[in-house]
Amino acid sequence: MTTFSYNPDWWHLLTGSFMSNALIAGVLIAVAAGAVGYFTITRRSTFAAHALAHIGLPGATGAVLLGLPVSWGMGVFALGGALAIGALGKKASQREIATGTVLAFATGLGLFFARMSSSATKQMQSILFGSILTISRSELLGFAVFDAVLLVVLACAYRPLLFSSLNEQVAQAKGVPVRLMGLLYMALMAGVITVATPAVGTLLVFALVVTPSATAIMLTRSPLSAMVCSTLLCLGSIWGGLLLAAMFPFPPSFIIVTISAALWLVVRLVTGRNQH
């Protein structure tokens, strides 16, 4: 059994090169999750967002099986799932039984692919629970490109996306292409899941993409301030997780989701709101 001892040399560990990749990844993940997480809650699509991570799992293990980068398989499967859910409309993303059934099936399929090769079996743990310390330079570049595209798209579609997320019926009557907005949101969500999964894995990604936004919504009174607040909360969770993981022999994913969940719980108790 590992002893949970304090590492006095944590600063040296934190300034190492693999750690700098993890810290930069934290920023890129926080920006993506903070911007899209707000819409996830406003659209009431949190369960669909959670499901996307699991739908991406067979893609990730399948990619390992074929010798491709994990993010590629994850991204393709999550995007496919996202477009399928988006095409069925906003109501469908709230159909919890259908979504949950697909989620379970996809997780099983992910296990099946993983068992077909020994290298995939080895990677299963890091796909499910993340390995933020092994993020590579090329992955960072991919994250940065995604973030740039995400911010440009959101800046252009911000108001119609917000209107259709809040009041779909009226937005539709006023001529907002609500179906297109649903597809756009789901596609962005698939990207965010793909970017955030390497940090905490498919099982814990909810705590990074949805929880900070839920906390931010309790603290703020406008969409933009919620997105900024949520980005900071997400970043605080990731960096705090990395710091504590350098000091103590805890897995980073565990500390990241613990901080995120603790912030949510404290804010919820303090503000006394029960909605989220």
């Binding site: 579609a157 108001r159 209107f163 937005a171 009557a173 006023k174 919504i217 703020t220 406008s222």
Partner: protein
């Protein structure tokens, strides 16, 4: 601009289907500008469907519907629309002023700054609907009545020519209902706004209505208030006995409760001969051999005056708690 004589909404032989089933058909009527009309009918009669048709969200299978001089759906920028239970399930941190602002900017793609004119329009409408001081409240922090005003304000902020509302009084307490009805009256009077309201309970709206579209036997009809306030029509429309009584506050409908009525007053259900009699009187000319008249013995019509029955009914209606609703002062 449009000619004053041109109707605001015009149905011509309109019929609509959902999932292969005809919801209603042969709708031919016109609603003039500056009027307040109700859409009434029993559950499932197609009241919300009628709003969807007027917004062009649901295609007709026959006939045509013209709204504000254009085919339905083409003038939606000039229509304010408040769906049923609108904003009740908002699960976000959006505040009253941000929500109302979306009524102007919500359809625009691209990056835009909010202009001073837009902020001014939002502030004006907040004052008009009586939400002053509540601008920075979240929608989910408001009571149902105030949330309904915020919803109406979002529909009004772009200064539409027509306002469509689906059950705007449902789930509100009497004070909130009366405040919303007063708001409609001011809109109609001060802005000349044409308003159409889907409602299952007409009593609250009676003082401000010009007429009503009633969905009866699968067909929409329009008539002015004098015809609507006919207990035979109402009885037929609701499928249960309805009487019209006059109170000091105005006309109202009551549903007689057999347990409370004196003996011999009759029960609350509609018997076949009464239905047949009504049907013959009103529709025999346009719908030959209707199904209602089959097997029924046509008896003589019992004409009841539009606005009153015996005085004892009126007192019973208001004192014994069997009223269906509540009227407000005119």
């Amino acid at each position: 601009m449009e000619k004053e004589a041109e109707p605001c909404i015009e149905f011509r032989q309109a019929a609509v289907q959902r999932g292969g089933r005809t919801i209603w058909s042969e709708g031919t009527f016109a609603i003039q500008r500056g009027t307040v009309t109700a859409i009434v009918g029993t559950n499932g009669a197609g009241k919300t469907t009628m709003i969807d048709v007027e917004l062009g969200l649901l295609p007709l299978c026959h006939g045509s519907v013209t709204v504000l001089g254009r085919p339905a759906g083409q003038a939606n920028g000039r229509i304010g629309y408040v769906p049923q239970n609108y904003m009740d399930d908002v699960d976000s941190n959006v505040t009253v002023d941000q929500s109302i602002l979306l009524g102007i900017t919500g359809t625009r793609f691209g990056f835009h700054r909010v202009t001073r004119e837009q902020r001014g329009a939002v502030a004006d409408i907040i004052d008009f609907v009586g939400l002053h001081g509540k601008e920075r409240m979240r929608l989910n922090e408001l009571s149902g009545g105030l949330r309904q005003r915020a919803a109406i304000a979002q529909a009004l902020v772009s200064h539409p020519d027509l306002l469509l509302l689906d059950e705007p009084l449902a789930n509100l307490d009497l004070a909130s209902q009366s405040a919303i009805v007063e708001l409609f009256a001011r809109l109609n009077r001060e802005w000349g706004m044409t308003i159409q309201i889907v409602s299952h309970d007409l009593n609250m709206l009676l003082p401000i209505l010009t007429g009503a579209v009633y969905l009866l036997d699968g067909h929409p009809h329009y008539s002015g208030m004098s015809t609507v306030l006919d207990s035979q029509l109402l009885t037929h429309l609701y499928g249960t006995k309805v009487e019209v009584v006059t109170t000091p506050q105005g006309d109202m409908f009551v549903t007689p409760n057999p347990d409370m009525e004196p003996a011999g007053h009759g029960d609350g259900t509609l018997d076949a001969s009464e239905a047949a009699c009504f049907f013959k009187q009103h529709y025999a000319h346009s719908h030959p051999a209707g199904q209602q008249s089959q097997g029924a013995t046509p008896s003589r019509a019992t004409p009841q005056s539009a606005a009153a029955t015996q005085p004892d009914t009126a007192t019973q209606g208001s004192t014994q708690g069997s009223t269906q609703g509540f009227t407000q002062e005119d």
